[in-house]
Every structure is written in C-alpha cells, then in structure tokens.
C-alpha cells in the first residue's frame, strides 16, 4: 500500500520533466528557438543588440509592422543592460564572432572602437543615401561619433546634454527665483534656502554613486567649468590640481550639506526617483530625464518642473554630451541590410512614426535639427525642448573646458582606461561623501592612478 502511494507521488515530478521536454521540443520548431548557426542566413534577417532604454523598446515594437513591411528585412532583437552589452559587443568583435549585425553603443565607445578597427564606417553610406539628410544631424553629435579619420562610425539614435531641473512649487513656496543661466555658487545658495529637512526635501539631488558614468558624469562637467581637467594636452594628469580639487570639494560639500540622504548610493535612477517624488528642490542631470519627469504615470512633479542651463563657473556653458547610437560591428556580413535598418531608425520619418503611433513625448530626440521644427513635438516637450536643443548645440566634445584636451569627451576622457580610472577615483570620492574623508587624500590617490594611465599615452 505504501509502495503504491509512493509510486503515485513520483509520477507528477517525472511527468512534469517529460512533459516540459516534449512541449519544448515540439514548440521550438515553431518559435525558431534552437536554430543552428550564428550570423548565417540570408540578407533578409539581421540581428540587433541593444540596451533596454525606453526608446529601444519602442523601436522593437515598431520594426515588424513598418521596417520589415517596407524592406522585407526581419530584425531580431536582444536586449541587455549596458555593462553586459559592452562586454558582449567587445567579445563578439574581438573574437570575430559575428553574432550581431547592429548594436546600440554610447558616445564613449564609438571613437575608441573605431580606432581599434571594430566598427564599420558609416559616412560613405550616409553620404550616398539621398533620403538620409546627414546635414540635418546636430554637429556635436556627429563630432562625438566620429573617429580620428573624421568619418562617422555610428549614427545617433537619440542624444542628450545635461541641465538643471528645479521644482517650481517648492521655489514658489519659498519665494525663490532661478536664473536662466545659474552659476554653481547661486545653485549652492538656492539649495540652502530651498531645502526642508523636516519634510525630507533635499536642496539638491546629485549623483554620488561610484562609477565613471554615474558620479563622474555630472562631476566632470563641474570640474570642467571650475577650470580643471583630468589630463592636459600632453597627457599630464591634473587630478590633484587646485581647480580639480576645488570642484570636487564644492560638489562633495554641496551634497553633504544640502544633498539627498544616502547620496553615495544615488545614481541617475535613484535621483530620478527622489526628484520625481518631490523630495528634492533641484536636480542636475541628463536632459533625457525630462521625458520621464513630465509623464504623470511615472512622476509626481509632472508639469511642475523648470529647466535651466547647466550651472557654470569659468566656462560659458557646461552641459555634457551623450548619445546612444547605432553602429555596425566590422564582423557583420550583412552591411547593406544593416545600414538600411540604421538609416530607418535614425531618420526623420522614424521620429514622425514614433510621434504618431506612440506619442510625441517619446520621439528619440536630440540628434536632428529638424526634430525641433515639428510643431507636435515642440508642443509636447514645451517645457524643455528649447533648453535641451541649445544645451546640445553648446556642448563641445573637443574643447569642453578652459584648456586644450588630448582627446574628445565632455564628461569623460575618451580612452579605454578611463572607465577603470574614473570608477576607482569615484569610489574614493564616494567615501568623502559618505564619511567625510578628506577630498585631498582621495584626489592624491587619483593622481597616482592617472599617472599610470598617462604613461601609456605620453610621448
């Protein structure tokens, strides 16, 4: 009797396994799962690797009904987080794996990878594609996505600069006014007046999360406008120079005195959340944050946010420059089909398609002048479109500070070693934010690390 019972109980487990396997095997034929080979097949299917940002999700939704219908080319997407995507593309290109025909990469990677010979140049495609209108692309975007040979190696999908956002309700309640082009000193004063510690409202939200692309994106723009730089023209490191030190001290003090709580753990997402919940009076960050802040489903401050230019000290403007761009790894065997997709994805028509099908606030903006002439778009992005466009136009990836630079990049130094250098230094700065360790000490360590990096480049 006992034996019988036991046998009956074992049945479901084994049945589940057998069933699972059978179902999987049967259905895999229909779904295309389990196809063999990689990167092979006809020109009618291309593979795309991209990050999971909202604009990329939109294109995944629109491709089949539009691009595929027009051209007969099917696009298969894989979505990965930023770091995994970088590893994956690096690995694929370095080993000539050829698994992807197009990929979204950032402005930091493009010049480096172009130099390594990993990317297909796109200038010849863009120039000969009559409908593409390359001249319409914003200059700073093209510049930051070009290699040393002046050719474009990726086509901008959407671009951003940085600006200062402030909560108009809080400012009105406290009787404060925000200048259109504030200085950092003004911002610090405003932060002191606007903060409300009893209500848990910070004066300003600034990224303190370690990472070259987290804390050091805004912080490097502060360094630039304080007159500092990571390296000067001949690769002499300047991390412990007075200007760099002043900038970091200012940033750390501002966060410690009037910043959000737990700042050393706050990156873009956390700040978006803090500011979006009305828990900070100001926030200095990416222009692309505005889209989410103005969406009532995702933020409690929609319609209550004012936008002004990035705060400055010694420079005229100080916004950063970033783009997500479509690139073709050199290993693709379907360059023509891949260009067709890139051209479609970064075209004027695609922007209109997104506007009409998904809503004008979701247009991947910040790359073409003509976007800002579309009345429906400027209507939907009234609060921030002008400031965004001007901030991008004013950003100069070649000359972002007061001294000549050895390579391009506003909020980063465009060498492969910078990711590691910036991240390590940011960890020390995060300790200054969290425990008040002296900034000088953190930057002295940073200077040593920067010297190691510079050795490779100094002649």
């Amino acid at each position: 009797m006992r034996k019988m019972g036991r046998r009956r109980r074992s049945a479901p487990a084994l049945a589940f396994l057998a069933g699972a396997a059978t179902v999987a095997l049967a259905l895999s034929g229909c779904s295309g799962a389990g196809d063999t080979g990689s990167g092979s097949g006809s020109d009618k299917t291309i593979t795309a690797l991209m990050v999971g940002n909202p604009q990329m999700e939109d294109i995944a939704k629109l491709t089949a009904d539009n691009f595929t219908k027009q051209t007969g080319i099917t696009v298969k997407f894989t979505i990965l987080p930023e770091n995994e995507l970088r590893d994956k593309v690096t690995q694929d290109v370095a080993t000539q794996g050829g698994q992807y025909d197009v990929a979204t990469i950032g402005a930091y990677e493009v010049p480096i990878w172009a130099k390594n010979g990993w990317l297909h140049e796109l200038s010849s495609y863009a120039d000969s594609d009559s409908g593409y209108d390359k001249g319409d692309l914003l200059d700073p975007m093209v510049k930051s996505l070009s290699g040393e040979d002046g050719k474009m190696y990726a086509a901008p999908f959407y671009g951003e600069s940085s600006f200062l956002m402030y909560n108009k309700d809080i400012f009105a309640a406290k009787g404060l006014t925000m200048p259109e082009r504030p200085t950092w000193q003004q911002v610090a004063d405003l932060a002191a007046k606007a903060e409300d510690k009893t209500a848990g409202v910070a004066g300003i939200c600034l990224r303190g999360l370690p990472g070259w692309g987290e804390m050091f994106a805004p912080l490097t723009t502060v360094v630039n406008t304080f007159g500092g730089t990571w390296f000067d023209k001949d690769w002499t490191p300047k991390v412990n120079a007075p200007e760099f030190t002043d900038a970091v001290k200012f940033y750390v003090d501002l966060i410690r005195q009037h910043g959000e709580s737990g700042a050393s753990q706050a990156g873009f997402t956390e700040c978006l959340n803090t500011f979006g919940q009305g828990k900070a009076a100001m926030w200095y960050d990416a222009t692309s944050a505005a889209g989410t802040l103005e969406d009532p489903n995702a933020s409690k401050v929609a319609g209550k946010v004012g936008y002004v230019y990035a705060p400055v000290v010694k420079t005229k403007s100080s916004g950063w420059l970033w783009a997500w761009a479509w690139a073709m790894p050199k290993t693709t065997k379907k360059a023509d089909a891949a260009w067709k997709f890139i051209s479609w994805a970064t075209s004027k028509d695609y922007e209109k398609l997104v506007g009409e099908k998904l809503g004008w606030s979701r247009v991947p903006a910040g790359k073409r002048k003509s976007t800002y002439d579309i009345p429906q778009y400027t209507d939907s992005a009234k609060a921030f479109s002008d400031v965004t466009l001007k901030a991008i136009e004013e950003a100069d990836p070649v000359n972002p500070g007061v001294q000549p630079r050895p390579t391009v990049g506003v909020q980063f130094v465009d060498i492969p070693e910078f990711a590691d250098l910036g991240t390590k230094v940011s960890q020390d700065v995060a300790a200054c934010i969290a425990n008040g360790t002296p900034v000088d000490q953190a930057l002295a360590n940073g200077q040593k690390l920067a010297e190691d990096v510079a050795k490779k480049y100094r002649k």
Binding site: K3, R6, R9, S10, P12, A13, L14, A15, F16, L17, A18, A20, A21, V23, A24, L25, L27, S28, S31, G32, A33, G34, D35, T36, G37, S38, T47, A48, L49, V51, G52, N53, P54, E57, A60, K61, K76, T78, L80, P81, E84, K88, Q91, G97, Q99, Y100, F268, T269, L272, N273, G276, Q277, A286, S288, A289, T292, N297, A298, S299, K300
Partner: protein, 267 residues
C-alpha cells in the same frame, strides 16, 4: 513550551525567507512610481500594466529555450548520473574514491576561468547561439553534483533488500526497476529538481554564448534593467513570471522532495 518556541522560530525563519519573494510578487503588480516610493508602499492600486509590457516583449521564445535547456539537460543528467552513482556506491569500481573526487574537482574551477576556452571551442564548432550548446553545458555542469547526490541516496538502500531480491532470482534489471528504483525515487526527484533549478537560473554562460535565437529566461529578465527610467516593477513582474515554472516543478515534486532532501546529501 519548548515545542511552541520551535514552532515560532520555524515560522519566523520561514517568513524571513519567503518575504523577498512575496515582495517581488507584490511589486510586480505596482505602478513604477509606487514600486520606487520610499518608504515602501503597502497600499497601492494594483495594475497589470507590467505584465502587459512583458508579454508585449514576447517572452515565449525565451521560456521555451529555458524549458528546453533545463528539461533536456536534467533528463540527460539523470540518465548519466544514476548508473555512474550505482558504479560508485552499490557495486564500487576500482579506485572509486579517485573517480568520485575527479567528478567533484570539475566544480572547483570558477566558471569564468572556463569561459574563454569554452567560448572558442563553441565558436569553432559553429555552435554559438544554439540551444543544444546550452543543453550540453548544463548537463556537464550539473553532472558532478548529481553523481554525488545520487550516490548518497543509493548508499541508503539496505544491502539486505538487494540480496533478498537476488536470492529470489531477480536479475539486475528487475532489481533496479522493482527494488532500488522505488526506494531512491525521492532522491531522483530531489536531484532532478536541483538540476532543473540550476539550469533554469544559469545566467553567466547563457549571456556569453547565446545571442538572438537561443536566449534563455534570465537573459530576458535582465533586459528590463534600464539605465534611463524606472524599471523595478516590471523587473519584478518578469521575475515572478520566470520563476513560475520552477515553482510549479517544486510544487509537483514536494512530497518526494521533503523525503529526498532529508534523506540524502543535502541535509
């Protein structure tokens, strides 16, 4: 009194373990801004938006790939590990200790150290982005563990029962089917479930060796992490959905499992 104390402790520990999972399920039904609110919101308007988004991204191929990789690798593991364990326990082969150690030694190498050679071999064979590659890899990864587990289950089969069967004239096949099989079936269920879970959750090799065709469920999951905008609610919804098959498998095997886990290696 003592019993009550134990009961309370057991429940407390159980709740502590289950709470993160429960929170994940709850968060999947929140709107993004509720999911991100601090302090956390207990009261919220439930919504199915996140699930709509997930199905909008076509989760099916990923689930099927995972089902294939986990299902087939688990079957293969059982087919290979059970006889191996038999030869290492009930009828030990010569130098069985060395063989046993050799099996487990393959688990001592960190996965990342093996990645490059595996990647290159797979690439040379033209097997990148192929679900059968994952089946083979997961089989290899889980095999040592399964051999060890099955061995300890087989050791618990009383020798006298096997001998009695032999005296009654039962051959090897009949003994395995009618005598050993039923006794170790909880062990088989426990081993199968653990192998299935390990294969289902595997991310490292999957992210490196698959691309657009054979991505598994964990690859689908991380696609919801975004550097721009909030993603916690939809990530939780996706995680809930992806953990359902494992939960189902565990639930189906639960009777066996309790016995299996308390009898053998993973006490």
């Amino acid at each position: 009194m003592r019993k009550a104390a134990w009961t309370v402790t057991a429940w407390a520990v159980g709740i502590v373990f289950v709470f993160p999972v429960l929170w994940m399920v709850l968060t999947g039904f929140k709107r993004e801004q509720d999911a991100a609110s601090n302090p956390p919101a207990w009261l919220f308007h439930p919504t199915l938006d996140q699930y709509r988004q997930i199905f909008g991204r076509n989760v099916t191929p990923y689930l099927l790939n995972s089902l294939m990789a986990s299902g087939f690798s688990t079957l293969l593991v059982l087919v290979l590990a059970t006889p191996a364990a038999y030869a290492l326990s009930m009828r030990p082969v010569g130098k069985w200790r060395d063989a046993l150690f050799f099996f487990i030694s393959t688990k001592m190498l960190p996965a990342v150290a093996a990645l490059l050679p595996i990647y290159l071999v797979v690439k040379q064979l033209g097997m990148l982005d192929n679900i059968w590659t994952m089946v083979i890899l997961y089989t290899a990864m889980n095999l040592p563990l399964a051999v060890w587990m099955m061995r300890s289950f087989l050791l618990e089969v009383p020798r006298s029962v096997v001998e009695a069967a032999a005296v009654d004239g039962a051959g090897l096949g009949l003994t395995i089917r009618k005598v050993i099989g039923p006794i170790v079936s909880p062990g088989i269920a426990a081993t199968a479930l653990i192998c299935f879970i390990f294969a289902w959750n595997e991310f490292f090799f999957a992210v490196n060796l698959t691309a657009t065709r054979s991505g598994t469920a964990p690859i689908f999951l991380v696609g919801f992490i975004s550097s721009e905008g909030l993603f916690l609610a939809r990530l939780c919804a996706a995680a809930t959905l992806v953990s359902l098959p494992v939960l189902l498998a565990g639930w189906l095997a639960q009777n066996k499992l309790v016995r299996g886990l308390s009898m053998g290696a993973v006490k």
